[in-house]
């Protein structure tokens, strides 16, 4: 702890001053999930201070938001949280639709829910896979990716892209479900549920994994609320808060699903394992939602009437619309003065808020734990830096 001894004559005493080691972790580091940079001050293996440095992927999202038309901006939203592009599309489209007062056809709403929940599963798979990678378990990552590829195949089938979909459009969705698509989702869900068990056996209840994550990086509920944590990170700290239930958007109020929270099964409430476990359980809940949506999906139009895509104009006004992204509360705050272009488009990115808690929870942990903690809050740098 940087115990500085008063300077003494060097010929009589051995100088035993110790010094904190300053380490620069990132932007190119295997465990930073992109281009996050964390400056770490460490006393041996113990982290004494940490300072995240972001902005290495700043891509001018908000400037572009006020420079291009609403329709043109939808593809950009894909690229902010590129692991959950559908959810981002949904958030932005809902925000614009709220301003434009559009009525969305039933079928489009159901397709939106199905694709967003599929994408949520894909995103959580990625989160737990890379989390395993952070802790040195390589194989779960590949298994997660194998399952994720199946989801990508389904999404690719309906919209032609693997990662950046631009599928949910203002006023509805891009196109109707292809023949056999809905049945294929059912097939996938039947395949996927046992795989979740496999993942639990391989990683979740692995003794080493539990030892590495339980009681590590504990975020108390008070801290979580203070630092604006949302999504699985807030739920991992024991708060039953989900915008899908607490501020329902789209048609989420029609589905029955549980909101899993961290209960400290393996350690303390709000530790890394709880956050991880919430994600695993949420995938199961998403499967439930998709199954219900597949049962209920009606026939009909997929695009609202009267949306002229080439000259889509919004009414003047300002509105904040939040959706439950896989990572937390994704909000779009739009100020429109009428016309095709927003006056201001502000994005509330969940990962941005989550990162700010690192300064609070990293100190005192060991170096290996620091990696585990950064992995457990599941950040996407595209969203942090925008």
């Amino acid at each position: 702890m940087a115990a500085t001894v008063e300077a003494r004559p060097p010929d009589k005493y051995v100088d035993v001053r110790t010094q904190e080691l300053q380490i620069n972790m990132g932007p190119q580091h295997p465990a930073t999930h992109g281009v996050l940079r964390v400056a770490i001050w460490a006393d041996g293996e113990i982290v004494t201070r940490a300072e995240p440095d972001i902005g290495y992927l700043h891509r001018c999202a908000e400037k572009i938001g006020e420079s291009v038309t609403h329709i043109q901006y939808v593809p950009y939203t894909d690229r902010y949280d590129y692991l959950a592009a559908m959810n981002n599309n949904l958030g932005y489209c809902l925000a614009v639709e709220k301003l434009a007062e559009l009525e969305i056809p039933e079928r489009a709403e159901y397709v939106r829910v199905i694709v967003s929940e599929l994408n949520r599963i894909a995103s959580h798979l990625m989160a737990i896979g890379t989390y395993g990678l952070d802790l040195g378990a390589f194989t779960p990552f590949f298994y997660a990716f194998r399952e994720r590829e199946e989801i990508l195949r389904i999404l690719e089938w309906i919209c032609g892209a693997r990662l950046t979909y631009n599928f949910i459009r203002i006023g509805g969705v891009m196109r109707d479900c292809p023949e056999g698509w809905l049945e294929d989702i059912t097939r996938f869900l039947d395949y996927f549920e046992p795989r979740l068990e496999e993942m639990n056996e391989l990683l979740t209840h692995n003794h080493i994994f539990v030892n590495r994550t339980a009681n590590i990086g504990v975020v108390s509920l008070e801290q979580a609320v203070k630092y604006g944590l949302t999504g699985p990170n807030l739920r991992g700290s024991g708060m039953r808060w989900d915008l899908r239930r607490d501020d329902p958007y789209s048609i989420y109020d029609r589905f029955e699903f549980d909101i899993p929270i961290g209960t400290g099964i393996k350690g303390t409430v709000g530790d890394c394992w709880d956050r991880y476990w919430v994600r695993i359980l949420e995938m199961g809940e998403s499967v439930r939602i998709i199954r219900q949506a597949l049962d209920q999906i009606p026939d009909g139009e997929i695009m609202a009437k009267g949306v002229r895509h080439l000259a889509f104009k919004c009414k003047a006004g300002e509105s904040y619309q939040a959706v439950e992204n896989p990572r937390g509360e994704l909000g779009y705050y739009l100020i429109s003065e009428g016309g095709q272009i927003s006056y201001r488009s502000r994005i509330r990115a969940p990962s941005f808020c989550h990162l700010s808690i690192l300064e609070e929870i990293l100190p005192g942990s060991m170096f290996g734990d620091a990696v585990a903690i950064i992995g457990s809050i599941d950040i996407v740098l595209g969203e942090v830096d925008r």
Binding site: P30, A31, L135, G136, F142, N206, N211, R212, F367, G368
Partner: protein
């Protein structure tokens, strides 16, 4: 080697030097070829665990030349030395690390009576020389002038020091039974039979792993500790990729890096073959039924069996690496000092008492 010297007696005084060179050539050749196979095995095995294919195209059949291509590439890659690194230490560190691993090969008998040096302190020699590699790693970490490397080196030093104890203690346990440090004698003990035994016979003691509960425990302790000695997962902290970028060899490139690479795989082989010799009966294929391995053909078969056992143990190491997450550094220490070392001491004591109270006088009993 003595026999080789004898065979080359006609050459006069240079016979010793020549046989030395030949032995060195054999060891080096093996050390050069083994990693080619081991790395390929590791890549293919890991691919299999991860539902991938692994190298497929290089060299045609299932990428069997993949490692050779890697080697050529590494050999012809620029050799960077960071400007602020300690040049001398940086230069010799890989060599020291590598020597530590491959010098142990000289005492390993590959078949009955086929070894380079039949050293009377065989196991001690292996334990002592294999620790030299650690010095190389620490030198590399220190000389690189990189904080990640330094972390890796310090972790390596701490880990190796703590795991030397259980590994040495667990090797003492079979020695209590055998009463000899020569590796050849240890195998001989495991296939000792009646004087007038035929080609196939029931051995008195069987494999040392099944000799007594204490040796079984010792075998397991040895395996776990040897994982830590080879820096293999779940103890791969010195080069923990997601934490320390590449650990102690972060600054190494090209050929020098490949030396660390070779060292790791050669050392994996060494601990595996020692395990096979000491606990798994060496070249004896079955636990309690022994064969006479005295003619050259049988010796060749025996060598094949021994290599097979060693490769199997290496494969188990690979299997564990691609399955388990990594331990944290304090957990590694806890494991070493709180569990493995006391356990090894307890086992040692148990074995000593077991031997003392008569079990050694009842031949053939477990």
């Amino acid at each position: 080697m003595e026999r080789l010297v004898g065979a080359l007696e006609g050459l006069g005084e240079s016979a010793f030097a020549l046989s030395l060179l030949m032995c060195a050539g054999v060891v080096l050749g093996f050390v050069g070829i083994w990693p080619l196979f081991a790395v390929w095995l590791e890549r293919k095995a890991s691919a299999d665990f991860q539902s991938r294919l692994g190298p497929m195209y290089v060299g045609g059949f299932h990428g069997w030349l993949q490692t050779l291509a890697d080697g050529i590439k590494l050999a012809f890659k620029e050799d960077l030395i960071p400007a602020q690194a300690n040049r001398v230490l940086f230069w010799i560190a890989p060599a020291v690390a590598f020597c530590g691993a491959f010098a142990t090969m000289v005492v390993i008998p590959i078949a009955q009576g086929v070894e380079i040096v039949n050293l009377d302190i065989g196991i001690f020699f292996i334990l002592a020389i294999s620790s030299v590699g650690t010095i190389g790693v620490v030198m590399a970490g220190w000389a690189s002038n990189n904080k990640w490397s330094l972390y890796g080196a310090v972790r390596e030093a701490a880990q190796l020091v703590s795991y030397e104890i259980p590994i040495a203690l667990s090797l003492m346990i079979p020695i209590i039974a055998v009463g000899n440090l020569r590796l050849g004698h240890i195998v001989g003990f495991q296939c000792a039979g009646p004087e007038d035994a035929g080609f196939v016979y029931l051995s008195h003691h069987g494999w040392l792993l099944f000799y007594s509960p204490w040796t079984l425990a010792a075998g397991l302790i040895y395996f776990v500790a040897s994982l830590a000695e080879c820096k293999r997962a779940p103890f791969d902290l010195p080069e923990a990729e997601s934490e320390l970028v590449s650990g102690f060899h972060t600054e190494y490139s090209g050929l020098r890096f490949s030396f660390f690479f070779l060292e790791e795989y050669v050392f994996m082989f060494v601990v595996s073959i020692v395990g096979a010799l000491v606990f798994l009966g060496g070249w004896q294929p079955l636990p309690f039924v022994s064969f006479q391995f005295d003619n050259p053909l049988m010796k060749l078969i025996g060598a094949g069996i021994l290599l097979g056992k060693a490769v199997f143990l290496v494969w188990v190491q690979i299997w564990l690496r691609w399955t388990l997450p990594r331990l944290r550094v304090d957990q590694v220490m806890t494991m070493g000092y709180k569990y493995l070392t006391p356990l090894a001491m307890l086992t040692l004591m148990g074995m000593a008492l077991y031997q003392y109270w008569g079990c050694r006088y009842i031949p053939g009993i477990l």
